[in-house]
């Protein structure tokens, strides 16, 4: 072995990556950095972050029925729900108040798993930094409500499954409500 051959070999390695960084594509040994604020990676469908609420037609009628299951299941207890009531004080099947403190939320996704009404899902939104510690991270119902269309857009395969299931359930319900229809006899 020649004196210093190892050093020369090492020097060639660094020189190669120096030259490649200017002239090669990322998959051929060039730079693979994505410069974040200007460019960004395409979000994976299964990426999950903070929860949001889904509504079907209009934000006044969310899927949420204020059952409080998610608030009970939430490990860091970051969800606060107050049930709405009509003029006579009878409870309604929707929340008057739905707050999630994102500074407490630990992005576990248990709320999504626990919800029997397909009302709460994990979002792809992650740029929620604020200049203030408490109010800017405390998301209210208005901030959390997003349309089903948005959900279909960020998580198409999950949305398709859930939409199909909901449609099936609704059809069954309609069928059961129809008194005139003769009951189908099956053997």
């Amino acid at each position: 072995m020649i004196f210093g051959a190892g050093i020369l070999k090492g020097m060639l390695v660094t020189l190669r990556s120096f030259v490649n960084s200017y002239f090669k594509k990322p998959d051929q040994g060039g730079l693979f950095t994505v410069e974040y604020p200007e460019k960004r990676l395409v979000a994976k469908e299964r990426f999950r972050n903070f929860p949001f609420l889904v509504y079907d037609e209009k934000p006044e009628d969310p899927r949420c029925v204020a059952c409080d299951i998610c608030a009970k299941e939430c490990p860091p207890k970051c969800i606060t729900i107050v049930r709405d009531a009509d003029a006579e004080g009878r409870p309604l099947k929707k929340p008057a108040l739905f707050d999630i403190d994102l500074s407490v939320c630990m992005n576990c996704g248990i709320c999504e798993e626990a919800c029997p009404f397909d009302a709460i899902f994990m979002d792809h939104e992650f740029e929620i930094a604020g200049t203030e510690r408490h109010q800017s991270l405390l998301y209210h119902k208005e901030d959390l409500l997003k349309s089903n269309g948005y959900f279909r857009q960020i998580r198409p395969s999950d949305a398709a499954l859930i939409d199909a299931r909901r449609k099936e359930a609704e059809d069954k319900k309609k069928a059961a409500l129809k008194p005139a229809a003769p009951p189908e006899k099956k053997e």
Binding site: M11, T14, L15, S17, F18, S21, Y22, F32
Partner: protein, 378 residues
Amino acid sequence: METLFIQIKTLLVNAAALVLPPWGVTLSSMIISALAILGLGPLIMMYLTLMERKVLARMQNRIGPNRAGPWGLLQPLADGIKMLTKEDIRPSAADPLLYFLAPILIAVPALMVFAVIPFGKGMTAADLNVGVLYFVALSSTTTLVIFMASWGSRNKYSVLGGMRSVSQMISYEVTLVISVVPILMAAGSLSTQTIVESQSGRWYAATPWGLLSCMIFFICGLAECNRSPFDLPEAESEIVAGYHTEYSGMRFALFYMAEFMNVFSICALTVTLFLGGWQGPLLPSWLWFLIKTYLLIFIVFWFRGTLPRLRADHLMGLAWKFLLPLAVMNIPAAAMSHFLSEPFSTAVPLAILMVSVAVLSFFNKGYAAEKRVYHFTD
């Protein structure tokens, strides 16, 4: 283009001659040169930091600074503002005078050596007839200041760094000086300007003894300005930051500045002594000088991106057991080439040097334990 900077200076001096007496003109000529160097030093340092970060980043498959200005060109300014506005902390146990003086004094020799560097044809600020000696003498005072800083800050890591710096300097200074001797013999002068002019036919690095001398000089120069792989005095993984552990803000920036200016001056002197200085076809002389110098500086950064830090005993071994004997053998080799005629003037030095490299690498071979052979019972 060739005489651009000389013309600017002549213009300024002529303007001064209109209002000043003769002694004032001489003085203003000196002041203009001094101011040019004082401005040049920090400017070079600022952009060397950017270049180092960029080059290192590219070698490590990163992009490097690119936020401040196009291609990060304003990054040095941003760093400067950060350094200036940082809190200036002095340890309560530190020696006030030494601690205060060291960062100022370290920048002085780093700037003073620029005076003898020939940046172009007729562009030496002070063409001393002992130029190389002046350079070697001044650049070695850096060690004293480094030890001042380390002793003054009353920190065990600082003192360790200072000790390492002194021991490293003693080893490499000797080799550095001896490696220049063949060039001085061939050029017959210590003046940097004369040395460059004597290389008009052939660069010294194009001869076998010159090439070896160049390599030894460059390696020792790296060790002198504490650059990787010889950065033991400021080894951040071992002794925090070595001699400048306790320094922050602008004081630290001065140490950093001195280090980068030393890198520049070592590379500039290597170019002057071995690579033909400002000599080159077509382009203006100062541009040739800068191109060659920045290529060498690139090599310095390239070393930094590639080589790990040497162990202290390997560092000493390399200087005393390999480079020093080789530099000494280089002197008779250079003398041979001077006194012999053409075919022998290259062949004989080459033979001498190859034999000495072979002998030295044989004797420097480290101990490697014999490979054990295990016998298993069947």
